[in-house]
Symmetry: C2
Subunit: 429 residues, 2 copies
């Protein structure tokens, strides 16, 4: 057996602990599969004394995390520090500049600085790998970069945030409202104390920008992802959707739209006949639609120490085997600069829910706004009064350009009849 792949591990949170446990438990099997052992030679984190439920005394401790980039015994640095900039970015830059490979689970850093890092890895002829950055343990980076590589991809989309899917399926199963379920998820540790990165769709947008780059051969364009979350969803929306044959999922979608790149994270109505409608709890799932392979689905645990560590170590195995290449499937200079698609031209069906005052003329006002904007209504449901006396009106539109719906909503903005913002969701086709 040849010499081990030597790993310096930065960050000992949940995932870092998982990586240590995984290599401890499966080390012999990994050595057989990789053709050489994978060994952790040094570790670093903020607090050495913290009890992580894993023995770290056998590893060399390095106080200055950034020093791992210069550690003479390390071939690879695993960055699990987190954060788009700051220490994580400094470590990543220094690691690649020093000619060491980098494995990271840091989607925020990749969304903002992935291209720079990929260029640095290319210059140094080392690996930059990030399977764990998207959809936890699911090998979807590999699935797009390699498994579906023969295909022109029309669309890649999926459930990319386990916290949101946990909340949505809990709301669905128990008929409860968002705020209540979020509080419970926070108490259980499924949601962060500051949950906005998850529930406002930012985390999913980070991941989507990575998937889009791989799927379309374009530079990551996180700034172009139109992002919305699940904060304003009512239990009543889920009930209406169910009555219509849909479940609500927060989807990240990237598609080639008439030569433009469309990227959006938004709650969607998913038909119950679609596999994503059956993805419940913290599970993630990604669909890629290729012009020869058709629809591919990858599903599994989207977070957690075990699954995420599995993805990190899969990257290390690729590196140990010498089976790696450009981070974004092709050299940075071969990546196209994407033109954002004109969302207004995008056609689809939509669900729009209004919370309105219970008085004469409200329906007529909404219907007139829709008509004036050229929105054709497929169905309209009005349910009895809520506890606060307001009434819900839920509309499903026929297929049409998104611009028309936006115009109708613009027209209704500030109307005395509306109590709060309308909820606009897209229907997955």
């Amino acid at each position: 057996m040849t010499k081990p792949l030597r790993v310096a591990l930065a960050g000992l949170g949940t995932v870092g602990g998982g990586v240590i446990r995984l290599i401890g438990a499966n080390g012999a099997l990994i050595a057989r599969r990789a053709g050489r052992p994978i060994e952790i030679v040094a570790i670093s984190a903020r607090d050495r004394a913290k009890d992580r439920g894993v023995d770290i005394s056998r590893f060399e401790w390095v106080d200055d995390t950034n020093a791992l980039a210069h550690h003479e015994d390390a071939d690879v640095v695993v960055e699990l520090v987190g954060g788009s900039d700051g220490p994580a970015l400094a470590l990543a830059r220094a690691t690649l500049a020093n000619g060491k490979s980098l494995v990271t689970a840091n989607k925020a850093m990749l969304a903002h600085h992935g291209l720079e890092l990929a260029r640095a890895a290319e210059a140094a002829k080392v690996a930059l790998k990030f399977e764990a950055a998207v959809a936890g343990g699911i090998p979807v980076i590999k699935g797009l970069r390699e498994g579906a590589a023969a295909n022109e991809i029309a669309r890649v989309y999926g459930i990319l945030n386990g916290t949101c899917n946990f909340i949505l399926t809990k709301m669905e199963e128990e008929g409860r409202d968002f705020a209540e379920v979020l509080a419970e998820a926070q108490a259980l540790g499924f949601a962060e104390a500051d949950p906005s990165f998850d529930i406002d769709g930012v985390d999913a947008a980070h991941k989507l920008s990575i998937l889009a780059s791989l799927a379309f051969g374009t530079r990551p364009a996180f700034a172009d992802v139109a992002t919305d979350g699940i904060r304003h969803l009512l239990a009543a929306d889920i009930a209406e959707a169910a009555a219509l044959g849909y479940r609500i999922r927060l989807l990240g979608i990237a598609e080639d739209n008439a030569g433009g790149l469309f990227q959006r994270v938004h709650p969607h109505l998913v038909p119950t006949s679609h596999p994503l409608a059956h993805v419940t709890g913290a599970t993630n799932a990604v669909v890629a639609e290729g012009n020869f392979v058709g629809r591919l689905l990858f599903q599994g645990a989207g977070a957690g120490d075990g699954p995420t560590a599995s993805a990190v170590v899969a990257d290390l195995i690729d590196i140990a085997r010498g089976e790696f290449g450009p981070a974004y499937a092709m050299p940075v200079d071969a990546l196209a600069t994407p033109t954002p698609a004109d969302t207004g031209e995008r056609r689809g069906r939509a669900y729009v829910r209004f919370t309105v005052a219970d008085k004469v003329g409200v329906l007529a006002e909404i219907a007139a706004a829709m008509r004036d904007a050229g929105v054709s209504i497929e169905s309209l449901m009005q349910r009895g009064a809520m506890a606060d006396g307001t009434v819900l009106v839920a509309i499903v539109t026929h297929e049409g350009p998104e611009r028309s719906v936006a115009q109708a909503l613009e027209k209704l903005r500030g109307s005395q009849s509306l109590a709060g913002q309308p909820m606009w969701m897209h229907i997955l086709a």
Copy 2:
């Protein structure tokens, strides 16, 4: 851009035509992704004149398929001839012996000769790749070999034969019997004129032996796969299963059973809460359960020219990139020789359906046989008489060793009360 990867293509059936079309349609994109073009330089098949709906005039035609192995312009041979031995095997051996890489979709050849070919590829330091041999376009070989490589796999299982799943879901949706649906599938071209490889589970067994090798680091052991098909399934079985909350799927399952390797292809009752219960039509799906990643699901088109060509070309892209290694994830000498598991000791719940004469004492005879073998009955349903006057008795057992069920059935063998063989299915846990 560096020099192209030059491909010699043997076999121009559905998949061969798909490979030509795919490279024609997506060639520029593939060149960007692979870092170099992939070019077909020579082709061979039995009949040059046959209309394949694809222009083959621009490729060099070689009459003697075996000569592709010696073609001086080819770096890789793609073998799509088919058949476990004969011309396909001769070509595969000659290709590797000549120091060229081999890509094949031939599960039968791999099931019987995969180890020999892997050894030859290792000796020649070339690639042997076979993504298209299992589950069509789904990158499940890569998923196991690389994506889940950090995990000890407890179990790998799935829907590996699209023809059977097409027939089963058709029976399910339309309440029709097997023979009738098979005839229709044959008329539509979804099933072969001689369908036994598909419907008796042999094709799935070929594929399972490949998955098991990758999952468990063992030599392929096709001869140890216990194989049964769907030929004896009745519409009534599907109805009974549905009433109990299950759907029937032909599953290939490989698991580590107390250090022994268990491999079986058999119709199973799959709980409707399990994602495989929702896989319909010719779709394939594979589940791998890892000790860190948990349950991974890969789903997509299991056959057809486009999806299978997608997998073939994905292999070519890996080769063009230089991102490949041992065919079975580790060198042949590192693969363990598996010990077949003692199936009798395997515990589970079972469904057993008897077709019995409508007379006094039959139930008592069945119940006594079960009792004497120590089989504990969870539920028993007897439905009214069939058209031929026989009666169906369907039993679901509590969890217990498979040996007990086998003993009970042995005891009942030749009983005057039974009309035909009992149908024994396992319940997926």
